[in-house]
């Protein structure tokens, strides 16, 4: 049987056609499968990024120090409005809603006509948002962004800090750049999420894809040890004196001596963290941590405590103070005073440099150095704020023959105010080491505590309790009663403390016109509730109002202490 040629031809054609079709199906289903699957997926799914809400920072009484909230911005996309007439028409429709004259809107768009995002108004109200949505204007969109608010502004600027652009320029997130915002950035930030929605042909959501959805995790919140009211007491008292004495800078710190919790920390000059880009960089330094200085006489009680604890000097031991001129070591007394034999208590009360120099000599280099290291000088305290300076305590190999006589009255050593107040907290609590800290607890977005601050009392006893009690209750209360710190005396409570008027070294020489006036102490002496440090750098001596710690810093201490103790008592804190 002979097959007709045209049937064979048709058969071959069909084979070729079906072969080609099969190849096409194979090509589409296998070779290009990923592309078409992706296209199909894109057409039926929408990805909505979810940026986390940054955690709140609150003070110890729950007042908000920093919080994030969404801000709505109306923008125009000029690429969607090809003709200028369209822009004018849109501007005319936006005018009554946003209460911005249409010509102004046109001007804004005209300036950035080549961009696809021209913000018109930031911070629109809910009514404005609804009106814009209802108007369904072409080329007009509403964008929402998290904005950080710092309600207390200057009051807590150096504690809270601020956030700004990320290091990675492609990232839209803001990161903490200073203060607590920086130190706890990873906790506060949270993590991004992404909602995956199934959409219809008009891109309206009709379902969700839970398997591909990544839940957003809002940042944790922080409860600080800072109390906004005490912070205000400290700042208002300090700022008055800072202005009256035309000082270069000033610091005030209030600390709980029993656990190292910082209740207030003020560094002047300060800045508004909401407008940090306009601030002078010099005002942004938290001087309590970043600026070490020679402490002067406020250092004396610490060395005296170490000497008494080590048995290098007795409580009633008479120390000859060379009648005001220790010529061999070129040491004189403050304001030309002259003393003969003094006990350690009298040395602290009269703030005798020579008496302290002799205590230093009795201790010797090694014991003095080790004692100061034990108190944490020359090392960071570990406070939870960035940029802490460790200060400078030279190793004994670098000491000159004078050093052992200088350090006991606060020269030839650089310390930060946070190190000094910690040392006084140790004296006030009976000799237990404490770590200064600012965070009391970490909570989730609903306020449930996730973790408490680590136990801040460190193990051990730095000095014997009887020594610490003697220094605080005998010697330093006497400084306030009869000595250089009489202006720190409180009406209702017994205060203790020490004044300091330290020369400022410039180019290796002590400047005789500029001083750092300080006072550090606490109250009530028998069971101290708080310790307070006040340090005012370069009060203007030319004003003739005084420049000593007793004159400049002690009244600030008194005001802060009086207000704080009254507040604590009334609120039973």
């Amino acid at each position: 049987m002979k097959t007709k040629p045209h049937i064979i031809g048709i058969g071959l054609l069909l084979v070729i056609v079906f072969g080609l079709l099969s190849w096409r199906v194979f090509y589409l289903q296998y070779c290009r499968a990923d592309t078409y699957l992706a296209q199909s997926y894109e057409g039926t799914h929408a990805h909505v990024p979810d940026l986390p809400q940054r955690g709140r920072i609150m003070d110890s009484r729950g007042r908000v120090l920093a919080a994030s909230n969404k801000v709505l911005t109306v923008f125009i996309d000029p690429s969607q409005l090809p003709h200028w007439d369209d822009v004018m028409e849109t501007a005319c429709l936006l005018q009554p809603i946003l209460e911005i004259p249409a010509p102004n809107i046109c001007d804004i768009v005209h300036e950035k006509i080549r961009l696809s995002y021209v913000p018109i108004k930031t911070g629109i109200t809910e009514q404005e948002r609804r009106a814009i949505r209802q108007a369904r204007l072409k080329g007009v969109g509403i964008e929402s962004k998290w904005e950080r608010y710092i309600p207390m502004e200057q009051l807590t600027s150096h504690i809270v800090g601020f956030i700004g652009g990320a290091d990675d320029p492609s990232s839209p997130d803001k990161v903490g750049l200073a203060g607590i915002e920086r130190r706890y950035d990873s906790l506060l930030r949270g993590s991004k999420g992404q909602r995956v929605l199934i959409v219809d042909a008009r891109r309206f959501p009709i379902g969700s894809d839970p398997q591909r959805t990544v839940e957003v995790k809002n940042g944790s919140s922080l409860v600080l040890t800072i109390d906004g009211t005490i912070q205000e007491f400290a700042r208002s008292a300090l700022i008055k004196q800072y202005a009256d004495y035309q000082a270069e800078s000033a610091i005030a710190i209030v600390m709980n001596p029993w656990n190292g919790a910082i209740l207030a920390l003020v560094s002047l000059p300060d800045y508004n963290p909401s407008e940090f880009s306009k601030a002078d960089p010099d005002t942004m330094r938290n001087r309590a941590l970043t600026d070490p200085f020679e402490p002067g006489s406020i250092f004396k009680p610490i060395v005296a405590a170490i000497a008494l604890d080590g048995g290098f000097v007795g409580y009633d031991e008479q120390i000859y103070c060379e009648n005001g001129n220790y010529a061999k070591y070129r040491i004189g007394e403050w304001a030309g005073h002259s003393f003969g034999n003094l006990t350690p208590k009298e040395i602290l009360t009269q703030s005798s440099n020579i008496g302290m120099a002799k205590i230093g000599q009795k201790m010797g280099r090694k014991n003095l150095y080790e004692g100061l290291r034990m108190f944490g000088f020359g090392a960071r305290t570990g406070i939870d704020l960035p940029a802490e300076n460790p200060g400078l305590l030279k190793p004994t190999a670098d000491w000159s023959s004078y050093t052992v006589t200088r350090i006991p009255y606060g020269h030839e050593i650089n310390v930060t105010t946070i190190q000094i107040i910690r040392a006084f907290a140790i004296l006030a609590n009976g000799g237990s080491p404490v770590m200064p800290h600012l965070v009391r607890s970490v909570t989730d977005e609903k306020g449930v505590v996730e973790q408490m601050a680590k136990k801040s009392n460190l193990a051990g006893q730095l000095i014997k309790p009887e020594v610490a009690h003697w220094v605080v209750r005998e010697a330093l209360t006497n400084v306030v009663k009869e000595g250089t710190g009489q202006q720190a005396a409180l009406e209702k409570w017994e205060a203790f403390g020490k004044t300091g008027t330290a020369n400022i070294a410039v180019n290796g020489q002590y400047d005789t016109t500029n001083y750092t006036a300080s006072f550090v102490g606490g109250a009530p002496a028998k069971n101290p509730a708080v310790v307070v440090l006040v340090s005012i750098r370069k009060p203007n001596k030319a004003l003739g109002k005084g420049y000593s710690g007793g004159r400049v810093a002690a009244p600030v201490f008194r005001e802060i202490m009086q207000n704080t103790l009254t507040y604590i008592e009334k609120n039973q804190l």
Binding site: R63, V64, A67, N69, K70, E126, R129, Y149, P151, M152, E153, Q154, L155, L197, D200, F204, P205, I206, G207, S208, G228, T229, Q231, E232, R235, S236
Partner: protein, 76 residues
């Protein structure tokens, strides 16, 4: 198959089909309304947060201090 049975099968099949489509459309509509409600809830939360922050600003200790200083002393 008798005619009545065929009609019943076709009718039943059509009802099931229409029911399925209706349920699907309803689910989409409910989901869309849920999305809208969630956006509205978020907006309310934001408004509340905004008001709380304004209140915090008005009640913060430094603002209160300023106001106390500005207020005239009743004894004078």
């Amino acid at each position: 198959m008798s005619r009545s049975r065929l009609i019943f099968v076709v009718f039943y099949f059509t009802v099931v089909l229409i029911g399925a489509v209706h349920l699907r459309v309803s689910a989409s509509r409910v989901f869309y309304r849920w999305c809208k409600a969630q956006v509205a809830q978020d907006n309310l939360k934001l408004q509340l947060g905004d008001k709380q922050l304004k209140l915090e600003h008005l009640l913060n200790p430094s603002v209160i201090s300023e106001r106390i200083e500005k207020e005239p002393d009743p004894d004078k």
